[in-house]
Every structure is written in C-alpha cells, then in structure tokens.
Symmetry: C2
Subunit: 322 residues, 2 copies
C-alpha cells in the first residue's frame, strides 16, 4: 500500500508568501489518523481485487486521496476559528499561533489546494469525482451550520441529530470510499456498497465519540470527560435521555441543563441519570447497528486482504477507547 504519510510530507509548502503557506504546512504536519485518504486507497485496493502484487494501489488514486485529507484539514482549520478552539492535536491552533485573518485566508487557500490536487485525477474520471467532491464539501458545510443551529434550538429530534452527524462526519468517509473505488474502476453496485460502508462507520464513529465523552477512561480518552455535558451539547445520549417517560428523571435532567457554575457536580449527576435511564446501552445498540450495517456492505464486495482490513477497521472503531 502507498505510504500516505510520505505522500502528505512530500507536498511542498515552502513557498512565498510565507504567511499564506506556512500555516498550511503546519496544519498538515500535525498528524492525525489520515483516515480519509487511507479509506480511499483501501477502497481502490478492494476493487482491484488483489490483482496487484503486494496490493499496491496505482499512483492515479493518490491525488484524490490527498485532496480528501487536505480538505478535511481545511475544515478543522476554519472550525477551530469558529469554535475559538485553542489546541488541536496537542499544538496551538493556527488562529492562536498566528491570528484569525491568517487562519481564514490560509484556510481558503487550503480548500483551493484540495481542488488543485483533484485536478490531477485522470481526465475521464474527473467530471464525476469533481461533482462528488463538491457534494461532499457541501454536506460538511451544511452539517456544520446545522450543528450551530441546533445549539439554540429546543426541538432537535434524534432524526435531526443523525442527519447532522451524517453530513458533518459520515459523508466525507462515504465519498472517500466511493471516489477511491470509482477511480480504481468499480461498478455502480460496488460503489454504492463502498459508500454505505463509509456512511455507517462514520455514524458509528460519531456515536462512540458521544459515548466516550461521558463513559470514557480519562487516561486513554485524551480529553476531559464530560465536556459535552458541561456545554449541554445535544448528543445522542442527551436526546435519548430527554425522550424518557420517567418524568422525575426528565425534570432533574432539565434542571441540570439550566444550572450554571457547578460543572463537576453536573457531570456526575447527568451521568448518573444517563446510567439510570439505560441511555448508554441504547446508544451502544445504535452504534452496533451501524457497525453491523457497515460490515454487511463488505459482503457485497470482492473479498481480499483490503476488504479484511476494512472489516477490522469497522470492528476497531466500535470498540475503541480513545
């Protein structure tokens, strides 16, 4: 398999004006799982069905894979400005290390750089890939806007929430799979299976994130437990709890949602309500359904070592602790 980290490192950001390109290099050098390009390359490998010695994916899948990673990092850069986040992957965010204007303009350029990479997709595949990439990018901006809107909306349903995380998180994984498979020559039903796999692991991933934020081990989770509870974030757990018919627990929960200044106590109390209502088990059940749905898609695809890695990935995401 192509080394995606090496490919990312080989992108050149040592260009003028430094104020524009240095923050792009800084953002891309900060690591991360490289999940999206890995999915694109692995999807291509699945389609090529082990016909390649050592499973090597041809170079022509790489530009789209890199475009997906650059795009993903662009969204993090601009999200951090909007959320006033100060730390990302253990380092100061761009708007902290430089300033807001630098983060806005370098982010814009990073989005353009994603499209520059996309321009290297084989010409016969470019029209569809560009369309799908645009649909994916649009879904993410829409998901981000819904996430903001939901903060001030008292009537968010579980369906609303699932729609939001699908757009904000899952669609990028789904299109990474589909684009990788398409460039490798996949047929329509294969592309649909790849897309659905990405969509479902994305949903499972996000729900597991919601669960770990409450029930994770502080030693392995990497950030403070209870962050979502502190800021009343409308996660699957909170929305599920609010649906309870146990009016006493619901009243207690609503009291905590308007409480201020007693953060530690609030995290403990709300967690206790969740546990009492069986909210964790319900969320885990939804997550497991999406993991199972992702795994079922893999059965429709050629079976080879790449398919096996996708199977392991879906299972790992569902049992991860951090």
């Amino acid at each position: 398999m192509l080394d995606i980290n090496k490919a990312i490192e080989s992108l050149n950001w040592d260009k003028e004006p430094r104020g524009l390109y240095e923050p792009i290099g800084y953002t891309l050098a900060s690591g991360g799982k490289r999940l999206r390009p890995t999915l694109a390359l692995t999807a291509a490998e699945v389609i090529m069905n082990g016909g390649l010695i050592n499973g090597d994916v041809p170079e022509h899948v790489l530009p789209a894979a890199l475009a997906l990673e650059v795009f993903h990092n662009f969204t993090l850069l601009h999200d951090d400005v909007m959320d006033r986040a100060e730390v990302r992957r253990g380092r100061p965010t761009v708007h902290v290390k430089w300033d807001d204007n630098t983060a806005i303009l370098s982010g814009d350029q990073m989005l353009i750089e994603a499209y520059k990479l996309l321009a290297d997709v084989p010409a016969d595949k470019l029209p569809k890939v560009l369309r799908w990439f645009n649909e994916m990018a649009t879904a993410i901006c829409e998901g981000q806007q819904y996430d903001v809107d939901f903060e001030h909306d008292a009537h968010v349903s579980i369906d609303d929430y699932m729609m939001m995380i699908e757009k904000k998180t899952s669609v990028l994984l789904a299109y990474a799979m589909k684009i990788g498979g398409y460039i490798a020559g996949g047929n329509e039903s294969q592309l649909e299976a790849l897309y659905q796999y990405g969509l479902h692991i994305g949903l499972a991933f996000q729900i597991q994130d919601d669960i770990l934020d409450v029930y994770g081990d502080p030693k392995t989770f990497g950030k403070a437990i209870g962050g979502d509870i502190r800021c009343n974030k409308k996660t699957l757990l909170l929305l599920t709890a609010l649906q309870t018919t146990d009016t006493e627990s619901k009243a207690e929960l609503l009291q905590w949602l308007i409480a201020t200044g007693r953060d530690e106590e609030k995290v403990a109390a709300v967690t206790a309500i969740y546990t009492r209502l069986g909210v964790r088990e319900q969320a885990e059940s939804v997550m497991e359904q999406h993991t199972a749905a992702a795994l079922a898609q893999l059965d429709k695809l050629p079976q080879n070592s790449a398919t096996e890695r996708l199977r392991e990935l879906a299972e790992k995401l569902a049992t991860r602790k951090s």
Copy 2:
C-alpha cells in the same frame, strides 16, 4: 448576448439550512458590475467571430462565467471579514448583518458553489479550466497575503506593488478572458492575447483606482477622497513619490506618514506633495501604457462587434471617474 444578471438571479439559494445559504443570496443580489462573467462571455463571442446570429454565446460558456462571479463575490465576503469592512455596495456586510462565523462558513460554501458551477463545464474542457481556475484562485489568495504583508514592510518597491495588484486584481480578469475564449474554441495564440488583454486592463483599472482615491471628484467617486493617504496605503502614487530625488519633499512626505490625528490636513498636504512631484502624471502614464497594451492585444484577435466592445471597455476604464 446572454443576460448575465438574469442568470445570476436564477441561481437558487432558497435552501436549508437558511443560515448557510441566505448570506450567499444576499451577497450575490447586491449587484456590482458583473465585469468578470461579462468578460468571459465577451471573450467567447470574440472567438466565435460573429458567426452566431445576434452574437449569442452558447449556453455552455455560462457555467464558467457564473463560477467566476460567485468566486469573486466569495473573495469580497471573506475580505470584508478580514478588513472589518462594514459596508459593501451600500449595504451592511455579511459579518455585520449576521456574524463572523456566518461570514466564514457561508464564504467557504460560496467557494465550493463556484466549483459546483465549474463542474458543468463541458467534460473535454474541464481539466484545463479547473487547473486555470485553481491558478487564478491561488494568485488571488497570494495577492491578498502580499497586500497584508506590505502594510508592515518598509521596503516595498514599485515592482512588488505591481506584482501584488496583478495577483490580487488582474489575474482574475485575465483568466476570465482565457477561460471564456477556451470554452468557445480559441487557439493558443488567441487565448494568450485574451489573457494579456485581461491582465492589462486589470492593472490599468487598479492604477486608476489609486489615482481617483486622491484626485477623484467626491461627487462621482462614491467614497471619501484620500482614504489611501489617511491609512498610508502603499499605492503606486505613494511608492512613486518616495522615489523622488527631491530630498525636501521626501522628508516632508515621511513626516506625514508618521503623523497621527491630523487627517484632513494630512490629505491636503500629501496631495500637494504628489502634485508638486508630478506623481499623478507618472501614474497616469503607467496606466495609459497598460491600456495601450490591452488594446494592442485586441488587434491579434478576430475583429467583430465583441472585439469592439472590449476596445470600448478598455478606453472607458482608463477615463472613468468612479
């Protein structure tokens, strides 16, 4: 000729989530000259050499023309956030009417919308158009960064300044011409002439802007005279004045650059220095050279009513009062 205003109005922004799309519709409805799409369509018409009844440009040039206009308006939206500008085309800017985060996210989506329009470029022309569009977008971000850098740089040369305005303003006009001509089937030397025409009218346009900011008629210019002088903006006029061998005038000018709080007096005094040094005439001469260079490019192209309109446009830009 296709009605570009009607085409822009027919773009649909009445979509959910409103918080994402409403600011895009608001920005595009605020008018403006529609110069860039008009250039793209006119360039196509030049190439088609009047072979079309009534000079009608086929529909297939329209998506790229619209993409250029949407992209241009995206740059205005984000520039207004970065410059803290409160008014644009007589209306509150997006970050004032909504907020900074809305302006950032809607701007991002607007950039993506430009690429969505681009995806409708005929497939055989798409690879090159996407590459050129990316080069254009990159030049504009670089130009914006240089503009910011130059504010704090005491050693900006006239060459630096010309490079900056070329990237920030002219390259978009140049690529509008080239892309329009390419989709219409222009050959390489025609595309080069179209590109150079756009580049030179862009430079002439920006220099005329610098001149009008000092010598314009407040009644027709539309904004306060002397804005560039007040904030020590490194325009062609200031950079030309600083090159003078008249050490007394130069010392006086430098004094005014560090003066604070005497704005009206400063505008009058610096204008007087410019006039004494003949800076206006020098800038006008540079502008006229670029207008002449633009006109010379037109001689290399098919001669028809569209070419004639481009000739009139170059002359109008050079003599405009607002």
